[in-house]
Amino acid sequence: MDIQSYITLGFSIALTVQNILYCFLGVFLGTVVGVLPGVGPVTTVAILLPISFTLDPVSAMILLAGIYYGAQYGGSTTAILVNIPGEASSVVTTLDGHQMAKQGRAGPALGIAAIGSFFAGCVATLLICFAAPPLAAIALKFGPPEYFSLMLCGLIAAIVLARGSILKAIGMVVLGLLLGLAGSDINSGVRRFTFDQAGLADGIEFVALSMAIYGIAEVAYNLEKKEVATQVARHIGRVWPTWSDIKLCIPSVLRGTTLGSILGVLPGGGALLAAFGAYTLEKKIASPPRRFGEGDIRGVAAPESANNAGAQTSFIPMLTLGIPSNPTMAMMIGALMIHGISPGPRVMTDRPELFWGLIASMWIGNLILVVLNLPLVGMWVKLLRIPYGLLFPAIIVFCCIGAFAVNSNAFDLYVMAFFAVVGYLCLKLDCEPAPLILGFVLGPLMEENLRRSLLMSRGDPAVFVTEPISLAFLVVAAALLLVVAAPAIRKQREQAMQE
């Protein structure tokens, strides 16, 4: 089959009534949690993970994906109108977006955010269509050494791109890898790190771990912050930007889309990094450089395009290599595994309906989002009146029900309670939890591929450098480490992270 017939197949699946409904539900929930500060797409995806296994795999993926990219739309709404980034990836949108709102131009800011996001979403989806199949074809030829080096490279990239101290990020990855090893060892049957608990025989439950960190621990952390009284910009005005606004924004949207698409693919990347990168780039090269930070519409257009593009393209490594580039993708992998599908290059050939159905649903989802967001913007803003005091008990309850539902086992709740404390400590100590989640998912895979590689080479570790593709990954990994270690670049990185 060629790409065209695959796309037709994708739409035939995404356009069934059931899947349109799940797509709508996904982007709707995504917008809601995007608007609400304190509840993010990662938390929501974690909460919905156990529910998704009552659905068929395609619908589950469509639903979860919708939440992720839907949140990118919702996040901009609050960033512009209330100066609160509903989502971390909308932080930079507050800079110019809220200034525009203060000047009475909230409408065009919202408009360009939605248009830019839609354009970027379409381009990035197309990119997945064309980039994923050849990538998967290459990945099919990978043996254990290539996979091991690729995962190592991915983890190092995630460390380099994590916020804060690199040493702590490495520690979190290693801790994640260790936690991932708990349970029965596949080769020897030895139970590792189970401490004689039957509930740990199959390892630490991924759903419980991720909800502990992104649900419960975040609630405990958020409760310490003081609630900020919200002031909503009253005058929204017409949403459609003027022709001169659009003309001004075209290059910014294009730049944002390009940069966002690239940054989304990188491990540790995704929507957040894309938005920051795009804004920084825009400030440097947009001409005329005029007045960024004072309500320049391009300061909304570029990061909003970029975060949506990044949200979409971060699916590429997950779908083709089975390797997550950020925690949301790690949860998608978790969702696939709940359904007994092992993510990797075979998914595309063995389950084309899953891959292409998901891609097609992204187009539909983006379209629904534009319709949901522009005319209904007033309704979304009302959501901000929900106080966190009513919201967080709901998060806790849903996390509890979800954690229990996976195995109908009370033990998973104790696991969740334990890791909630660990997660809270990590947040307090500025240890990014994302590398831990990535390490957790990759831990068993890395061990397995390391074992197989050494078995193949009769114990000679040189196999990782004699295989050309594996060597290439290791060179990239080493280069990344060197780059971060270089003092000049480290300073720049610290500056960029602070902005």
Partner: protein, 147 residues
């Protein structure tokens, strides 16, 4: 000598603690050879690396200064964690509705929200929603009432 970077110091302590547990537990798993790695090989390797990182963090925290740790609010954290554990312990005995009421009451206490009517209303709404969506809608095997 005093700790200059408390966040680094305690992160280091946390890593060392986890590494210690891992190394102690893994000492009974056979290491195997490089050709046939035993179940202990990778855990030992990772445990060693983690301990090393922890030690570096701790040492560095005496030399390079960093931000202080914001105060830990122990009561809300403890209440939330207790609520989660209680959910596990009580669900199969008390059923979803009563367990939710207890969990929400404790959570509300964590949020210092003590208006009784609000908590009651919230518990009611969440109980109805959860039973409708999770038990009837998604057919999750959760008991509704005490058994």
């Amino acid at each position: 000598m005093s700790i200059r970077a408390p966040k680094d110091f305690w992160s280091g302590v946390m890593f060392i603690a986890f590494a210690a547990v891992a190394l102690v537990a893994a000492r009974n798993y056979s290491l195997g050879t490089a050709v046939r790695m035993g179940p202990g090989y990778f855990p030992m390797l990772l445990g060693g690396v983690l301990a090393g990182i922890g030690v570096i963090l701790v040492i560095r925290s005496f030399i390079v200064s960093g931000e202080p740790i914001t105060p830990v609010h122990i009561v809300p954290l403890a209440a939330i964690v207790l609520a989660v554990a209680l959910f596990g312990a009580l669900l199969q005995r008390l059923g979803l509705v009563l367990t939710l009421a207890i969990v929400i009451a404790i959570s509300a206490f964590a949020g210092r929200q003590t208006r009784f009517v609000e908590v009651l209303a919230l518990a009611g709404v969440l109980a109805v929603f959860s039973v409708a969506v999770f038990v009837y809608g998604l057919r999750l095997p959760l008991p509704i009432w005490p058994q």
